[in-house]
Amino acid sequence: MLAFFIRRVGQSLFVIITMATLVFFGVNVVGDPVAMLVAPDADQAEIERVIRDFGLDKPIIQQFGLFLKGLTRGDFGNSFIFGEPAIELILDRLPATLELAIGALLLSIVIGLPLGLVAGLFPDHWGSKTIMALSIFGFSLPTFWVGILLIMTFSVSLGWLPSTGRGDTVSVLGLETSLFTLDGLTHLALPALNLALLKISLVIRLTRASVRETMQQDYIKFARAKGLSEFRIVRVHVLKLVLIPIVTVLGLEFGNLIAFSVVTESIFAWPGMGKLLIEAVLQLDRPIIVAYLMLIVVVFVTINLIVDLTYTALDPRVRLGGEKA
């Protein structure tokens, strides 16, 4: 067990270092951040000062060495544009993005689950077919396009919800969050819905598929034969089974939500990490790009590692076979 543990941790470290190398060299070959940033009428001395201040005068290998050294201390260098530590800038924006992702997740369950249940229980009803068609619609709509339509409809035309930005925040357990203020929730509604659209469709389809599968199981037939009411069957037996895959998949999709918030945040001027990233990409703020990617890599690798180790602890067969089902 210990050997297995060490091997898996070693693998994960290897992945992180490989990714760090790829990301660092990948990002450092694009464009010229100095030419981007200095005033267009700057003289040579000024240009050289900026190159020096950013540490770009050193050979790339030495830069990489310094980057790796900083990495061990969790230091990704200072943002070229903001002049503050890149990782701090990202972590400052993390709560806003998490809020958005959590909001979208909740919306997708609240809207998607009931619709999926209906579609799964009455697969041949026209209503269910409509739901399914609409769910594919949800898959096909370009997020950015829907975003501005939502703003035009609910903010501009109806005036129900604020168009852009994040609302008032309160401090909960040391985190600034807008989830617990009314102003915050009204600001969150539209971007969360926009981000949730794809996931709503996903939940509908997952729910329908597992409901249909579950309903064909013998024990459901048995329960029916026993004369249990359909409602009770659904509530007690089906729902429980259906929830497991949905929770699993949504857990995995959470990372995707965070990534996709890049688009939603740009449209709704939501002050999250995604907006920071896309601006960093457009302005070649290399430390931010690298820090963001490394943060994501570390988070994903850690999740994978924990899942693996848990599986192993629970199921010794995995250890023997060396492969997951």
Partner: protein
């Protein structure tokens, strides 16, 4: 969506705006939607338009620039040359910083020492402070000495904001968290949440009278349509950078007012004038040909082939001014006799034939797609027009993060890569020496001349005139020199000017904004309409 459906949506928008106008109470708070936010509160960290613009709220310069970039007294009440290399400034007495301390000459010296030397600054203020020594004469008098006669001292120092000498060693973070954000400006710093908002509150003791607004919130909304939607929804009171595509509909919208004024930014073409064979030019059949842009007739043909009024009307939706020189009318050093080149496709064809290109040639025009108003579309329109006179034109546009590096040094031996490129230039100093020095003068990195001369046009006589102008303190004599240099550069077709950008702000009804040529969005420029 059907047309009828959309009409309904539109009338619903109008209706909702009208009702919301009815319920507006004129509170003394203002919310401004900005197209791009400052990168720091530190006034000396980043020489960048949004930072300079925001800095004016909390800090004051010695000399202010008005809406048309004319110089006005700020923390200095007067300034004049006492000899060729020395300017003397009288400072305003009785001004206090937000922390109550008194402003005097020490603060000026501290600010000029800090401005060029902030750690990690991506673009420093050294441009404005270099070659100048600030000397304290007494508490309320300073002298600025230059190494050589230099007329632009007042323009340069108008860009440097004054901090209290107590914070001379403060870091950029100290300013961002507010602990060092102490100025003499019309507003006090309240809070800065990057990406979300900046809040400021009125400084009731401001030396020029308390501002009209008790509290102002700036919100960055970078997406154009979202910014317009936020204004239509009543979430913000004022937005800058109104997309040209929305101007027509906003001007018809009740409850919205538009404020426009020409900017100091010229959009122009640079042409490869230094290579015998240009990388993005070939014969119609794809064969290698000598660089046709070296021939002045070809450059003139390109200028004549461009239908500037059509670009202004169709691409810019009327929100631009066709350009025949480097700065629009009204600025210092602008020629009264230069005309906008007439659209003349036949003349262009004739010139091409005369220059022995009767069948034209093939060229690629490059441009950015996220830097200037409608940049990619302008490039496309120009390609259409050049193709019509026989110059087969391909278009390549790219994000500015890639574009400017390639435009400046992407070619062989670190030379500019492109043959024909679209670029813009904003004259920060508000007069003609700025574009002449950077775009027209021969490339000379050591002296800081021609830093953006990406076509590498070079004319020693024009260089001489520009250098003389930059050392002539007498305004009339300098204006004459700048005009002469401009006229000769345009005559040479060193660059091909296209148009001057026009800036548009939109406010809810009941407010008015004084448009500024420097593109700044200032809360002090917003007033309640009579």
């Amino acid at each position: 969506m059907t047309k009828g459906g959309l009409m309904k949506l539109k009338s619903a928008i109008i209706a909702s705006v009208i009702t919301s106008v009815g319920s507006i109470t004129f509170a003394d708070t203002l919310t401004i939607g900005l197209s791009s936010e400052p990168t720091a509160i530190d006034p000396h960290y980043h020489n960048l338009s949004p930072n300079l613009s925001f800095g004016q709220h909390i800090f004051d310069p010695l000399i202010k620039q008005n809406e048309n970039q004319g110089l006005m007294p700020g923390l200095a009440t007067s300034w004049q040359p006492v000899d060729e290399n020395t300017w003397e400034l009288k400072l305003r007495e009785g001004v206090t910083f937000h922390d109550g301390s008194l402003f005097n000459a020490d603060d000026v010296i501290a600010s000029f020492e800090r401005a060029p030397d902030v750690l990690n600054s991506p673009s420093s203020f050294a441009t404005y402070t270099k070659g100048k020594e600030v000397i304290r004469i007494d508490d309320y008098t300073v002298q600025i000495k230059t190494e050589a006669p230099y007329p632009l001292v007042p323009n340069d120092i108008s860009q440097v904001l004054i901090i209290s000498d107590e914070y001379a060693d403060a870091t950029t973070s100290d300013f961002n968290d507010g602990s060092a954000a102490i100025g003499t400006g019309p507003f006090r710093f309240e809070e800065f949440i990057p990406g979300d908002r900046i809040e400021i509150a009125a400084n009731a003791d401001y030396w020029d009278g308390a501002p009209a607004w008790d509290a102002v919130t700036f919100r960055p909304i970078s997406s154009g349509p979202s910014r317009v939607a936020a204004l239509l929804a009543g979430d913000v009171d004022l937005i800058n950078g109104v997309p040209t595509s929305d101007i027509e509909v906003l001007s018809e919208e009740e409850g919205i007012s538009l404020w426009q004024g020409s900017s100091n930014r010229v959009i122009y073409l640079h042409l490869d004038q230094f290579r015998d064979s240009s990388p993005h030019i070939s014969g119609i059949d794809g064969s290698e040909i000598p660089n046709p842009l070296l021939d002045q007739r070809v450059r003139l043909a390109i200028s004549k082939a461009i239908n500037r009024p059509a670009i202004v009307d169709r691409v810019m939706e009327g929100v631009a001014i066709p350009a025949g020189q480097l700065l629009p009318e009204g600025f210092f050093g602008v020629s009264g006799s230069l005309e906008v080149e007439e659209y003349d496709p036949e003349g262009a064809k004739a010139l091409l034939a005369e220059a022995r290109y009767p069948d034209g040639f093939s060229i690629t025009i490059h441009g950015p797609n996220d830097r200037y108003i409608n940049d990619a579309k302008i490039v496309e329109a120009i390609a259409q027009m050049l193709t019509r006179v026989g110059i087969q034109t391909q278009v390549e546009t790219m994000p500015r993060s890639v574009y400017f590096k390639r435009a400046s040094s992407g070619g062989a031996d670190g030379l500019p890569e492109f043959s024909l490129m679209l670029v813009g230039w904003g004259a920060g100093s508000g007069e003609a020496s700025s574009p002449l020095k950077s775009l027209i003068h021969t490339y000379d990195p050591e002296q800081g001349f021609g830093s953006s001369n990406r076509g590498r046009h070079s004319n020693a006589e024009i260089d001489g005139i520009i250098e003389t102008a930059l050392a002539t303190v007498n305004d009339d004599a300098r204006a004459a020199l700048l005009i002469e240099a401009t006229e000769r550069a345009i005559g040479d077709l060193a660059i091909i000017p296209l148009h001057f950008q026009v800036n548009t702000w939109a406010t809810r009804e009941g407010l008015q904004y004084a448009p500024r040529t420097d593109e700044f969005t200032l809360a002090t420029g917003v007033t309640a309409a009579e």
